[in-house]
């Protein structure tokens, strides 16, 4: 093993899943995830995110193509893959009739972890996700956030090298979502864990992921860090107006880092790199030429623009199986703590 060199933890080549011979859920997808990064799959509902994750965690068999996790082939060495990974599914899969502690021990047993080891780990994990005081309560009494934390603890019981998170904050309120993000960030920071997650929340991908693959209709449309994706759109937007009536488009265009200027209803819309630095420069140039700026605003492109740029603006009416719809409904109901 090459030590000190970044390693590809997940590699997918031409990964494809076709359901019932005709429904192409994932279409020849290629990507790789390096050690220690948070890699996000972002896309609208029905884009193929969960199908991809289910293939990587060996629950679904690919129709075509291959993928490997830590060098193990997901089809031929599924057993080794399963021992290496941890999974936090989209649904709340903890058994309602068991206590939080019993659920974690059940997960440990499924990995064949001896009881003396699993007891200790369960205690540590319950501490980590702050459920120690609720560990002997049945899961049916848990709130959405507590259930999500319990799923997280279960996914970590085998000390996985890669953790797969499918829509980790689906249906959670803002506070719980932010708290969940903190847990995810901590896993990366403290344990150097590699994380693969799917989400359809843009701000989530932006806040957590080192790199994002935007997937739509089963195909990856772009991959990159949130910053690069945003910069590819053409940079920040500075909007300003001046007291005087004259057209200063030419003057602004010559300023460094300005890419494009448009005049609209007396407002100048300026596309520029590093808006925070460019805006003062523009003000300075204008002041030196005797113009005074009356108002100015700076907008950074959000992943929202990137996303819409790639996936189109319309809402999708995707066909979803009754099964996944029911699962999602149950998940949302539990998230709200019923």
């Amino acid at each position: 093993m090459r030590i000190g060199i970044t390693m590809e933890v997940i590699e997918a080549a031409g990964l494809t899943k076709v359901f019932n011979g005709s429904l192409v859920a994932v279409d020849h997808v290629n990507f790789s995830v390096t050690e220690g990064e948070i890699f996000g799959f972002l896309g609208p509902n029905g884009a193929g995110k969960t199908t991809t994750i289910n293939m990587l965690i060996t629950v679904l068999k690919p129709t075509e193509g291959t993928a490997s996790v830590y060098g193990y082939d997901i089809a031929k060495q599924a057993r080794q893959v399963r021992s290496t990974i941890g999974v936090v599914p989209q649904e709340y899969t903890a058994d309602e009739d068991l206590t939080g502690y019993e659920n974690i021990i059940l997960c440990a047993d499924l990995y064949g972890i001896p009881r003396d080891v699993s007891k200790k780990r369960a205690a540590d994990l319950l501490q980590l996700v702050e459920l120690t005081s609720f560990k002997d309560k049945k899961v049916q009494t848990y709130s959405g956030g507590m259930r999500r934390r319990l799923e997280l603890a279960c996914g970590l019981i085998n000390r996985p090298k890669v953790l797969f998170l499918d829509e980790p904050t689906l249906g959670l309120d803002v506070q719980t979502r932010t708290a969940t993000w903190d847990y995810i960030k901590m896993l990366k920071k403290e344990y150097g864990m590699t994380l693969f997650m799917t989400t359809h929340y843009l701000e989530e991908a932006d806040a957590l992921c080192d790199r994002i693959a935007i997937i739509d209709h089963g195909k990856i449309v772009t991959i990159g860090s949130p910053e690069v994706l945003k910069n590819n759109l053409g940079g920040d937007i500075i909007t300003l107006s001046i007291q005087q009536d004259s057209d200063i488009t030419g003057l602004i265009e010559t300023t460094e880092h300005v890419k494009d200027v448009k005049k609209q209803n007396g407002l100048y819309m300026i596309k520029a790199e590093n808006g925070e630095l460019t805006a003062p420069q523009i003000i300075e140039v204008l002041r030196r030429n005797g113009y005074s700026v009356t108002r100015l605003s700076l907008a950074k492109p959000t992943l929202n623009e990137v996303y819409l740029d790639y996936t189109g603006k319309s809402f999708r009416d995707t066909e979803e199986s009754k099964e996944s719809f029911v699962k999602q409904r149950i998940t949302l109901r539990r998230a709200r703590g019923r």
Binding site: V59, L60, V87, D95, D109, K327
Partner: protein
């Protein structure tokens, strides 16, 4: 890398964890546990005591009491219809417990638990077999309680009953449970709707129960029905249980019962495990 011993231990570890998860839902829920015992007791009390076929004969003044007993003995092998019926009730308990083993796998699929289990290294066959095993253990426990209730309600054990016969009783119950719950789990293995599973189970349940000798002797049934009854595992179960509990044991027939149920259990359990490799993941 491969350490056979460690792997066998891991298989048993996972098997017991999943089995115990299903069992806990039953024994840790006092109401459910109580109902699951009350139900066969009610059946026995109402069906066996109220529908007393013996009384049809004994209360008829045209039939002398001795002749009535004689007819009963010739028909049911014992003059006491309740004893005949109570043993049939044991088969009934087994059938009803095992039919739900398929339901829980449908729910596990629906709630996403199955997917989570599938992403762990636990062997695929173990997932299926844990359902079979939990249904088996549950029926065995329920059957033991039903036998006690039946004794309290007046089950007459055969004169040559030997406490060792109980081992035979539980061996029979074990075999038929493994076979039947494998069958019901097999039906459920691809199912995503519990409604469908419920309909199929109900459809199968009636012929399995009444197309057997559990409540009525086979040879008095219509000719067209008898071959079907003779293929029904419930028939062999009930016959073996009657021989061990209330009748004089016919060793040859008992061996045939054991063999038939053994083959039944082996075939369905293996088919279940083989299909789980193919069909649990899509």
């Amino acid at each position: 890398m491969s350490r056979p011993n460690g792997q066998y231990a891991a298989v048993l570890h996972g098997l017991w964890a999943l089995t115990n998860r299903d069992l806990k839902k039953w024994y840790k829920e006092p109401i459910l546990f109580f109902i699951s015992i009350l139900q066969p007791a009610l059946w026995m009390g109402l069906f066996g005591k109220a529908m007393n076929l013996g009384a049809v004969l004994s209360s008829n003044p045209a039939i002398p009491p001795d002749a009535a007993k004689q007819i009963m003995r010739q028909t049911f092998g014992t003059s006491d219809y309740f004893s005949f019926m109570a043993v049939g009730m044991l088969s009934f308990v087994v059938l009803f417990t095992t039919m739900f083993s398929g339901m829980s796998i449908v729910w596990d699929r629906r709630l996403g638990f199955l997917n989570k289990v599938l992403s762990t290294p636990v062997a695929r066959g173990v997932i299926i077999f844990s359902k079979v095993l939990s249904a088996t253990l549950r029926s065995t426990a329920q059957s033991a309680i039903v036998i006690i209730i039946a004794l309290l309600l007046g089950l007459q054990l055969s004169p040559d009953f030997n406490p060792l016969n109980l081992l035979g009783v539980f061996a029979i119950i074990f075999l038929v449970c493994v076979g039947l719950s494998s069958l019901f789990v097999l039906i459920a293995i691809r199912s995503t709707r519990w409604e469908t599973q419920m309909a199929v189970v109900n459809l199968l349940n009636l012929p399995l129960m009444f197309g057997s000798n559990a409540f009525f002797p086979t040879r008095m049934m219509p000719d067209w029905l008898q071959p079907a009854v003779r293929m029904n595992p419930v028939t062999y179960t009930t016959d073996a249980l009657r021989q061990l509990l209330i009748l004089n044991t016919d060793v040859t027939q008992l061996m045939i019962d054991f063999t038939y149920l053994g083959i039944f259990a082996a075939i369905f359990a293996s088919v279940g495990i083989v299909l789980s490799w193919r069909y649990l993941s899509k």
